[in-house]
């Protein structure tokens, strides 16, 4: 771990650059109070697809791999999440199981917020809720790109063109 652990979001120098973290002071204070900070080594599984959503994980630094899994154990990488991203957000908001598995690719600092606390926080702080809407929109864009990349290439492979090439 290159940098020392940063316990308070107020001391974080990276905050202004991050979509979610750049919150007004009162919201930031509330977020600071509900989050717990942990350092995770590379290879740690933050959460597993299909498990009930316990809460959200904010990547303070480092990267995490998001994968989906088939019934017979085959895996497909959805994307690599980077610093400043909030993982497990959609599952926590909708109360459904995690859609993906998140595994740390670096030794990183991660802030965890329990689902119940996060939902309460979002209801109390409109700015934060708006940031979350932006984050979810971004996630959705990336997911659709992935669908396009996988789905339309496969379509072509199944078509008659395959033999002609």
């Amino acid at each position: 771990m290159e940098s020392a652990i940063q316990l308070s979001c107020f001391d974080c120098s990276l905050r202004p650059d991050r979509v979610f973290c750049d919150l007004p002071a009162d919201a930031l204070e509330a977020f600071d109070a509900i989050k717990t900070i942990a350092l995770y080594p590379r290879g740690t599984t933050l959460f597993q697809e299909g498990r009930p959503a316990r809460g959200v994980f904010m990547l303070c630094d480092g990267r995490a791999k998001l994968t989906v899994c088939s019934g017979n154990g085959r895996r497909l990488t959805l994307r690599i999440a980077g610093p400043g991203e909030m993982l497990g957000l959609s599952a926590a908001v909708s109360g459904t199981p995690y859609e993906v598995t998140a595994e740390m690719l670096d030794n990183s600092q991660v802030a965890f917020v329990r689902r119940k606390d996060m939902l309460h926080f979002l209801r109390m702080h409109r700015d934060a809720c708006l940031q979350v809407v932006h984050l979810l929109s971004q996630d959705l864009h990336t997911a659709y790109d992935r669908v396009r990349a996988i789905g339309l290439v496969r379509t072509r492979q199944h078509g008659p063109v395959k033999t002609a090439v």
Binding site: S70, S90, S94, C129, H141, T155
Partner: protein, 239 residues
Amino acid sequence: MLSPYGLEIVESCLTCKLRAERIFCDLPNSALQAFENIKYATAYPKGAVLFVEGQSPRGIFVLCKGRVKMSICSTDGKTLILKIAEPGEVLGLSATVSGKPYELTAETIDPCQVNFVKREDFLRFLKEHGDACFRVAEQLSEKYNNACHEVRSLGLSHSAAEKLAKLLLEWSGRNGEAAKLEPRLKLALTHEEIAQMIGTSRETVTRLFAELKKRQIIQSKGSTLLIRNKAALKLMAGA
């Protein structure tokens, strides 16, 4: 008031009877009143295109009645249907929020009532109404969930047969048919459209249906499908 497409248009959200059941629409009074002021209630015939993938976002479309086909397209004209949107869904949401082009094309497959809200109005509305903002987060989460499901299905299924079996099982789980030994479902899509949903050709879908019928796994009468051997279908789906 009756519209030309035989739809009964609900002009005001305040008096809409369906509101309570809908995730987005069930807003507190103040937010609902504000929404009422910025929305335009419109009716579309079957086959109308609400927005096209790649267009810059004009705003959101709340689907009040009817169903809408959501699809993506490759440059060589191949289409993949991601979802059939049902009443209560908000379409064009993530593009409107982020300002990026619409990711999908939305085309009505029934006569529809759609409430349109312009982008600037909608963004202002979200800033002013925390409750609505939360509902939008919920809607986006649901869509994300669906997109991940799609990635899994397209990327990790071995064959078209597996994907078709999964799709039929998913459809058969609706309308209280899930618990039945021989569930019945209504096929609302053509073979071509089913092919576009599972990323294969129309010919393959027709061949697979014929095979399923021959093996007595399914039985069809008109557009109604009876699943006679659910276990065999589950085995095909790899579940």
